[in-house]
């Protein structure tokens, strides 16, 4: 990769240790993606916030660099481990809370906006078409490339951080015109959001950096997010294009059989003790829809609903929060199903969810069982 004189000097350490580290990460990123140079970016979205995921090493690293590191572009942040408004209800230990607050404060010191959301594309205005950004959250990177006409690599937590600190990112294939070599043919009839999540999970395994997907009908926001979440979990793929693609593309069908295989990989149980909604977090439209589905009904078991703080505040003003709490929902902002420390195998055996991304991490990281159901079925079977 070609660097400018100034970039070379930063890599040599002439602009301090932080810049040297950031450029070392950018160079590794550039070499890994065969990029020939760095380009400016307008917006970075960082992962690596939840103490559950980054641990003591991550907390100490951030605390160390925050003494002098400052972001150069608009930088937003993924969810953390809890909602400070109701953390006392969940019996988290003091150590977790203090380490998490230290991480929060390190990011704030660096100049990062504490958005604590995995759906930046839904809570912020989208910049003009073709704008270069650096989104680390995998579902957000896929959403940005596939729906929002933005350009991002499937950044890692460190490459996005390095981009935030330098305002630059390698000019890799996903930032240019990318032509996938595989087309997934969606054959499942009348898909719900769970089917789209499984399609995403399947496509992520088949695709390389991007895939074509044909046979997609009209998708609502929930279904789009489910697909991006599923795809981000299973693979390295960070973009899908709608349609058949070139005639020389390899064609792979996604039909009932392939869907059943994904289901069998992630679903462990037919019944859950607790329900979670939101991985990715729910936006205002989904909260509005949930509120109307729950009219006159209430959950027979606990149901955790994860939203960004801005959505929680809007929902409160409109009156959705009251309605949802009446129906038995616990509304949590700043955190997410994915890697939450609020669900622990000591007191939960099986979680019911409509999220493929949530299912993967609940099963593998939280170590609990998973019962997959679409939202319509959750409301039908789990409320009275």
């Amino acid at each position: 990769m070609e660097l400018t004189k100034e970039e070379e000097s930063a890599l040599k350490g002439e602009q301090g240790e932080i810049m040297q580290m950031a450029y070392r990460i950018l160079v590794a990123t550039g070499e890994a993606t065969d990029a020939e140079r760095l380009v400016p970016i307008k917006w970075a979205h960082l992962s690596g916030v939840n103490y559950n995921t980054i641990g003591d090493a991550g907390e100490e690293f951030l605390s160390g660099i925050s003494k002098s590191a400052r972001v150069k572009v608009k930088t937003t942040l993924n969810p953390m481990g809890f909602d400070i408004d109701n953390v006392s209800n969940y019996g988290l230990d003091e150590n977790f809370i203090s380490k998490q607050l230290s991480i929060k404060s390190s990011y704030e010191t660096m100049g990062v906006t504490p958005s604590f959301s995995c759906i930046p594309y839904e809570i912020y205005d989208i910049p003009p078409d073709g704008t270069q950004v650096a989104f680390a959250e995998s579902n957000a990177a896929i959403h940005a490339n596939s729906y929002d006409n933005l350009k991002t690599n499937k950044e890692s937590a460190f490459s996005a951080l390095a981009s935030a600190l330098t305002g630059k990112s390698p000019y890799s294939s996903l930032r240019k015109e990318d032509s996938p070599n595989v087309t997934i043919r969606m054959k499942v009839k009348n898909p719900d959001e769970l089917a789209y999540g499984m399609l995403g999970f399947f496509a992520g395994k088949v695709g390389d950096t991007s895939v074509n997907i044909s046979g997609l009908g009209e998708m609502d926001k929930r279904q789009c997010k489910a697909m991006c979440g599923g795809m981000g979990t299973s693979g390295t793929c960070a973009k899908f294009l709608f349609g058949e693609g070139d005639s020389d593309c390899e064609k792979v069908d996604f039909d009932e059989k392939e869907m059943q295989n994904v289901h069998d990989e992630l679903n462990t149980s037919e019944k859950g003790d607790l329900i979670t909604l939101g991985s990715p977090q729910l936006g205002l439209d989904e909260i509005s829809d949930l509120t109307s589905r729950l009219k006159g009904r209430s959950f027979k078991k606990r149901c955790m609903v994860f939203v960004p703080r801005t959505v929680k505040e809007q929902a409160k003003k409109i009156g959705y929060t009251n309605e949802l709490e009446r129906a038995g929902c616990e509304i949590l902002s700043d955190c997410c199903t994915c890697l939450t420390p609020l669900i622990c195998k000591d007191n939960v055996d099986v979680v019911t969810t409509n999220s493929i991304k949530g299912a993967f991490y609940l099963k593998n990281s939280n170590g609990v069982g998973v019962n997959l159901k679409p939202l319509s079925q959750i409301v039908q079977e789990e409320t009275k």
Binding site: E31, S138, S156, A157
Partner: protein, 128 residues
Amino acid sequence: MKVLVKGKTNGVVIKSTQPINFLGTVNKKTGIISDKNHDLFEKSIKDSILVFPSGVGSSVGAYTIYSIKSNNTAPLAMICTKADLTVATGCALANIPLLIIDGKEFLSIKNGMHLSVDTENITPIHPL
């Protein structure tokens, strides 16, 4: 063959034909794989030469790589067939040598082999 992170080490190969999602499926304290569907389930990647196709999934996996290095449960080196940013940047920050090899070279490396890795050498990987 491409060197993404430089270094010199030697150790025993732990090889998987499946990609690894570092976040959530690698125990940071022990380096043990917790994904029941993975062919390395219940195996530790600590102090190994970890050979696998690529990293997949969450971007936060880079922190997992940094954490296992800090906890002394990391592999000595990683060898992949495909460069992904989670592994590339995690190894860059943690100073774990990382090489990208082609499919033929991948086939020639067997589980349990004792390998020397030296990115400054003309042949960076050779059996001991």
